[in-house]
């Protein structure tokens, strides 16, 4: 029961804090900006186009490769346990696994996927 009571207190306190913060936010934010004040700064020229703009995330290949090697690290934890039991056989298997991943990485490198833009 004590646990539920404490949780309730925390919940109500959070609600009040959020309410107060929102009120402060709204009060502080009540400022009516003139139209030329709202124009984004780019050096003194009026922007002709809206900046909502989709662009190519060319480094996505880097993100995918990161995921591949990240998962490899995850597999290495259980493998470490197996390695203690099995020895050299497990080591060779893991090296083969890493080798396959490295072939992919070399391919991506060759395709210039590691260039940022």
């Amino acid at each position: 029961m004590v646990g539920i009571g404490a949780a309730l207190v925390v919940f109500v306190a959070t609600l009040i804090a959020v309410g107060v913060l929102q009120w402060v936010w709204a009060a502080a934010g009540e400022h009516d900006f003139a139209v030329p004040e709202r124009v984004p700064f780019a050096g003194g020229a009026e922007p002709e186009f809206h900046a909502w703009n989709r662009f190519h995330i060319r480094y996505y290949a880097m993100a995918l490769l990161f995921l591949a090697f990240d998962m490899e690290m995850v597999f290495m934890y259980p493998w470490a346990v197996v390695f203690v039991r099995e020895g050299a056989l497990a080591l060779i298997e893991m090296l083969m696994f890493i080798l396959i991943l490295v072939v992919g990485m070399v391919y991506a490198w060759r395709e210039k996927s590691f260039e940022w833009a």
Binding site: E37, G43, E48, H50, F55
Partner: protein, 417 residues
Amino acid sequence: MAGAGEAPVFVVAGGGARSALHQLRLAEGIRIVATPRHAAVLLIVGRVTEAATESIRHVHDQMAGPRVTVAWGHPEPTAVPVRAATDGGVAEATELIRRQFHNVVNGVIAPEPVWLPDIDPVEWRGVGPYGHGGAGMTGGTPYGRPLALRAPARDGLELDVLPLTVGPWFPALPAGLALRVSFQGDIAQVVEVVSADLVGFESPGGVVARTGEPLLIRDLELARARHHLEWMADTFRLAGIDRLALAAGRLAASIDPGDSALVDRLATGARRSLLGPMSLRGVGVLPSDIDLSGLGPIARAAGRDDDLRATEPAYREIGFEPVTHHGGDAWARFEQRAAEAVQAIELAGRAGDRRAFGAGEIEGPDGRHRVGEPTPATRLVTHLEQMLTGLEWGDLVTTVQSLDIDMESVTVGRAAA
């Protein structure tokens, strides 16, 4: 107390403002900020032309307020209604800026209203009952501005492109230079120089017209060293190395024959800071069809032994030999200017009262100035579009900075042509 802290200043730098501005950066109680959003004081330094009025109004209105405008070193009243003006030195300007900032923050003087009309642009309306729908990604025309265009990207895809005019008072570009860039991501697919001659000049012929009789080599070389040190300070600031920027600015303000070891130490600091390998090396190499002759440090950084000083007897007497570097990239230009600053200080120390250059030509810090010939900056600006197209934004800014383009010199060159 409000207004007791540093006054945040956004600077519009006109012609002849370069050294004044570098000295102002060293002044106590003033912080020069990178966008008007952070500023309370708009400072207009040096000469700006009538054509600059519109862009100055824009920058003024983008300050968050309370705002105030101060002019420093204008020969005549400007087209914009400034609150206070001074023709004095750095100390006077600093004092004026601080006083105006203090007054406007504390309500002693009324903050300036917006200078442009406060009229809502086209309302954002699509076709639906809630303003939604229509053509394009979100439909409608948000705040009077159409959404992105489409254009093919370099890998054959059709992607959004954002045309945007950057400048003329964008702090990472030379003051007065406006570029209309079509961005795809951060790649500048199309670059166009918006030429309007916003920066005014002192004398129509520029630096050459002022040299009726031979100049003291000592003065000329100290001015060269100061010029290069100020350029180094700007380059450091652009790269985010504020400590070295400050050191270079201090050295430029107090340059003296005998300071060459200090400049050397600054260059060593630059090499240790990884400025070269991180951002300058391999950037800004000029296309091979550009004629380098007369481009001064840019030509010499590409291995060209091109220097008018070598033809002057007075310079030969004090043992002048042109310095050159190889590579022709932004890093070579940095090394070149650092070496030339050291050399200039040493030459100034040896020059005595020797004089050189009087026949309508001079080897300036940015290259050859000759009566009736376009200035180096004017020539470089005509090549900018070719050089900058296809670069990433960071490389683009680095390239422009490495060329050391002074827009006052560009206006002079255009007027002469």
